[in-house]
Amino acid sequence: MAVLPDLSVDIGDLKLKNPVITASGTFGYGTELTPFFDPSLLGAIIVKGLSLRPMPGNPPPRIAETPCGLLNAIGLANIGIQAFIEEKLPVLTKIEAPVITNIYGHTVKEYADLAKKIEKVEGIAAIEINISCPNVEKGGIAFGTDPDTAAAVTERVVNNTTKPVIVKLAPNVTDITTIATAVESVGAKAISVTNTILGMAVDVTTRLPKLANIVGGLSGPAIKPIALYLVHKVVAAVTIPVIGLGGIMDYRDALEFLLVGARAIQVGTANFVNPKTAIEIVHGLTDFCSREKVSNINQIIGGLKTM
């Protein structure tokens, strides 16, 4: 019998049985897609972005489709950390894959408070921090657009938890590597690249924006080349592992990110189109490695050749 390829990867101290993770906001609270597959087979699960208090989210329309892409302005609607811990986590912990919580705040202190709360509960393997949201103390400018603010948030979270901290970068910046190195220097254990890219769409008949929020975040295949480029740049700038995402629809897309140097990948918008995407990517990577006689996925990671 052929020996199966080893798909396991390490994200710092976090050991994943394969590099396939579901992206925040596209996999609910982790159990909604169980009618389609067993999430225990995934590398890890990242749940919907959580805040200190429940958030209602934006008025509709919250989504609009654009060529090969999805624009969303959900407004980070979520049930709040407390309800998550009480209602969702007990079932989630039955899943045999690490559960990563994604968090966001409106002030640096809110991030720190979230980290403190999460630190006390079992069953959460790591914290991913979303820094693409507005900092109310700095006139609503996103935390992730300024290296100092990004570092300040990361540091406060790192100081309040023993769990590995992953920072999810915002792409709407002049030089993403300055943010990446800033968060690395204060103790981030990994970096996720990328969050959605700001965008708009207009209905020419009504002359209204297609989103009630006017602007939204673009995701899906439309952003894949940009995401790959950003991963490529960040991989070159830091020594901590980089998790790549943006427009991954199948195992070939995943391989592109791995070749560019991502240690793991996340599946986002694709979950909406085909709820089995993540598990099909696990299967696809297994088959690919077998076919290509790759015994360990780490032989692919960063394997981009030059012309």
Binding site: P59, N72, F272, D287
Partner: protein, 287 residues
């Protein structure tokens, strides 16, 4: 072939989600035909979907091959079930996705997920069911009429409004079901001239001797009037809403509708909490 047989789906050791039956199935079309102005009827066979579906539930349909443009699945109500396992979708061609759908032929393959959402709460025995549809809003009401007529426990009255006679479809099939049918067209080319809620106003001027329940699907303005009418006559009413959906599965939180004041949540999600809602749950000011 899968390299790792251990990765083949084993039944999860837990069931959560919403405890609802839903499947993803690849089906071959039995037929897909234009039956009115921009209106098409699609049919395929699925024992699983047909046996679990309830009137008011919907399907997320992937358009042919896994295209990246259009990217997302499109939601469609289940229009009816026939011959045991034949599932029908009645749809309006309005944009890129539905025109792609209309280009599919017999034997072409689509992927469907369903049945999704909550269906219509059926009337109690002896209650009169009043169905009000505007345009393509007929889609889920046909299925409801099918089920009610099969059970034979309720009188079914159907009010349907269209803008013009060329849009009027499925009338013969509705008559075969034996429902009391009233038609309106805005241009007067068929039936009562005007909008369907005007006719409803005329016919339903008072509560009447038999208790009625209203079921409505159509444009938001129509639903709003129906909801007001139901409130005035203190009748129960259920509306089937649309919302922009990315997933249909409760994971994107895209399909929000504002909940009425005093409800426990600020928003309801059409794919999970609906698409059928008691009309009192919705904030009609902002719909």
């Amino acid at each position: 072939m899968l390299a790792d047989q251990s990765l083949v789906l084993k039944a999860p050791r837990y069931t959560f989600g919403y405890g609802k039956k839903m499947v993803e199935e690849t089906v071959a079309l039995k037929s897909n035909q234009q039956i009115g102005k921009n209106i098409w009827l699609m049919e395929f066979r699925s024992t699983l979907l047909a046996s679990h579906a309830k009137p008011g539930q919907f399907l997320m349909v992937h358009l042919g091959e896994r295209t990246k443009d259009p990217l997302l699945r499109r939601p469609f109500s289940i229009h009816g079930i026939q011959e045991g396992d034949k599932v029908m979708i009645l749809y309006n061609v309005v944009g890129a996705g539905t025109s792609l759908l209309s280009s599919l032929k017999e034997h072409d393959i689509i992927s469907v997920i369903g049945p999704l959402g909550n269906g219509f709460a059926l009337p109690r025995p002896s209650e009169r069911a009043i169905l009000v549809g505007g345009g393509i809003g007929l889609a889920p009401l046909f299925f409801l009429a099918q089920v009610l007529q099969k059970d034979q426990r309720n009188t079914v009255t159907l009010f349907l409004g269209f803008s013009t006679s060329q849009e009027v479809v499925r009338i013969q099939q509705l008559e075969e079901l034996g429902v009391n049918l009233s038609l309106t067209t805005e241009d007067g080319s068929l039936g009562f001239k005007g909008i369907v809620t005007d006719l409803l106003d005329q016919r339903l001027s008072n509560k009447g001797p038999i208790k009625s329940v209203i079921y409505a699907c159509g444009p938001p303005q129509m639903l709003k009037k129906v909801a007001q009418k139901a409130t005035t006559l203190s009748l129960r009413s259920y509306v089937s809403l649309e919302g922009y959906m990315a997933c249909g599965l409760g994971i994107c939180l895209g399909c929000a509708v504002k909940a009425a004041h005093g409800e426990t949540k600020p928003y309801y999600y059409v794919c999970q909490d609906g698409p059928v809602f008691p009309s009192g749950m919705i904030d009609w000011e902002v719909l």
